[in-house]
Subunit: 402 residues, 2 copies
């Protein structure tokens, strides 16, 4: 007997047929003697539809009321799934965030789960299936809150932790985590096992199978995850702590992000606090700065700083730089059509020559590297966007991932 | 300064444009210095859409989960309307049933409101607008409940009572209560004032402007109502206690119901309890029996009993009668295409000759009366359905309602 948290995303519950299918998966798990807690998202498209309604009223719709609005989506799925299970003669019931309660703190639309009362649920799952809405909670004041898009993953991981579950399985519309984007690179392969660190690097780089903060929470509390498909019986990807994995390959996956732009500030005065002065106003304007690289300039008192942002933030960023009285620099260059390609692998540290192998492969393809950034388990390069797929394919091949 | 409960039905909030329009109505009321509590229904079509989803899973969908499902509809409207008001720089917030709470008792999908905690709302409306979902509440166990279709009217009346409001205004998609169906009889006229009793007779007879049980509650607690249109500035229909009205006309309106069928049981043994024995199994089968008329038969120990039901219950009703071992009768006749036409008016009691006038008018039109039933403020006849509109038009004219 295992205590399992099963989470089903929006596409997995996107129609009545799919909800019935999910009910069958749950019934099979329950009939095998497992205790089941199910977390569900809103039916696919539903949250976007509600956001659209709110924006017809006001682009800057009141955040408190937006949370009331959006939380209705998971409520619908919970009721339908519970009803489907009851129709299959299982004991089942839905719990709303306030009935549990799932306590959160922080501002509306971006709250964090801080506690979940598990007594009632633990009692109930002894012979029934608990259905719980993802993505939402209530504040100490009793207001409905939401925890950000993709937050159902966070609900699942938090419940797995607080209920001391044996498993946390994330059911989705893909077979698992892939070595690169399977839609673009057909030789991409499903990864059977991956470490939390690698998963984090991959998911923040565009392999958006799971919400990053949920992976972080699972890592912090050592909750093993499995990402698997709702629509096939195939095994998914298991996500463990690094020490539990045996690395036969130096590189686990190749990720890329598109629609990036690169700015280099030339001849910036090199003194403490200068980076903060550059990036603080960008942060305030909610411009997401990704890679930051600082080069030594020819002038000893000056430095060059390169960073990447999303392309549609480029104009706003230049505006802010020009109006920034706290910094002085000679000028800047920009490249508005770049991509970031990264190789990720916990085995990289222990494998010499990975860096050289990557640069050599790109050189062979005559792809110019515009910037480089490294971490313990990741090596990212900025290149011209047109070369993205070429670069990803080449790297996927030379690191034996095909 | 008045404390007003304003209730907006599904068509009044059926689109973002209409929600904005409702927000303007509320803003105008609020700017005039009134304290406003708003009750809203689900956007038109929404509840049916959710019911349809549940029935795709199971025609007999679990009642508890159905309430969870359906209550999401009003939640969406509440959030959108609150957001629209905030965008117009009003202080406003939505309250969910459990945040107030609105306490109910009775079974799921058919609960009754027993208490509403008014403290927080009374404080809030001193300078803000409270938006509250109709149709729903929570049980003592903390489950979501609903109070039956059309239940938003009941929520409005209950809140008006418990908040000791000065006014309860029901905004809808018609101008008010009409002397008969304006869609079929163009000379139908809006009634400016009507008594609770008359309103009840009219609404149970098909003038479905307001839910009957809400009118009953308003009558019981003497809460004056006004039914008016969301889409025009015209005055609506005021609903008072009878003594507050001045009757210049004997008849206030002409109502009719369609799709009826009539059954007469012939030669029923005339002894105590026989009616109960006939109707108990029909009640259990949820067949709604409308008019019941008992005639004296030629045989002194026997009687004839006539009653009407909805036409699509006819087969089931005959089946039940045939299998009923507790009653004995000679046989029955049926007429499966009848209609009930009623004249309603609190002034009827004090006006002699109304009955004769009605029968004479129908005779002039060569309309045969199949059964008659009377109450203090109502006179109903059963006729062949084909004659319905003719009868209604004629009665509307002779009682000076055109």
């Amino acid at each position: 007997m295992l205590k399992k948290v099963l989470k089903f995303g929006g596409t997995s519950v996107g129609s009545i047929d799919r909800i019935q299918h999910v009910a069958n998966i749950i019934k099979k798990e329950h009939d095998s003697g497992n205790q089941i807690i199910t977390i569900v998202s809103a039916m696919s498209g539903k949250t976007n539809e509600l956001v659209k309604l709110s924006q017809e009223i006001n682009k800057d719709f009141d955040k408190r009321e937006l949370d009331v609005l959006l939380s209705s989506g998971e409520q619908v799925t919970c009721a339908l799934l519970a009803g489907a299970l009851i129709s299959k003669n299982l004991k089942a019931r839905s719990w709303m965030n306030w009935q549990i309660p799932i306590l959160t703190e922080g501002e509306h639309s971006n709250s964090r789960i801080i506690n979940i009362n598990t007594t009632k649920i633990n009692n109930y799952i002894k012979n029934g299936v608990a259905i719980i809405p993802g993505f939402q909670g209530i504040s100490r004041d009793g207001d409905i809150t939401t925890i950000g898009r993709g937050g159902s993953d966070a609900t699942a991981v938090a419940l797995a932790k607080l209920l001391d579950a044996d498993r946390c399985e994330i059911y989705t519309d893909v077979d698992g985590v892939f070595s690169t984007d399977p839609n673009k690179i057909p030789v991409a392969k499903k990864i059977d096992k991956i470490s939390f660190d690698e998963m984090l690097e991959l998911s923040s780089l565009g392999a958006k199978v799971m919400q990053s903060s949920a992976v972080q929470t699972a890592m912090m509390y050592d909750i093993p995850l499995e990402v698997r498909s709702t629509f096939t019986d195939r095994k998914g990807t298991k996500i463990f702590h690094q020490e539990n994995l045996d690395y036969t390959k130096s590189v686990t996956g190749v990720a890329y992000s598109k629609d990036d732009a690169k700015i280099t500030l030339l001849g910036v005065e090199d003194k403490p606090g200068v980076a903060a002065n550059i990036f603080e106003p960008l942060h305030k304007a909610q411009i997401n700065v990704d890679m930051v690289i600082q080069n030594i300039s020819s002038d000893q008192k000056k430095t060059d700083i390169t960073f990447t942002i999303k392309r549609n933030d480029l104009l706003k960023t230049k505006e802010i730089l020009k109006n920034n009285k706290k910094i002085s620099y000679k000028g800047f260059t920009q490249n508005e059509k770049v991509a970031k390609v990264s190789i990720v692998g916990a085995g990289m540290v222990s494998t010499p020559g990975v860096t050289y192998k990557m640069f050599k492969a790109l050189a062979d393809e005559k792809i110019n590297i515009l910037a480089i950034s490294t971490s313990e388990i990741k090596l990212s390069v900025i290149i011209d966007e047109d070369n993205t797929l070429n670069a990803v394919k080449k790297l996927h091949t030379i690191f034996d991932l095909d």
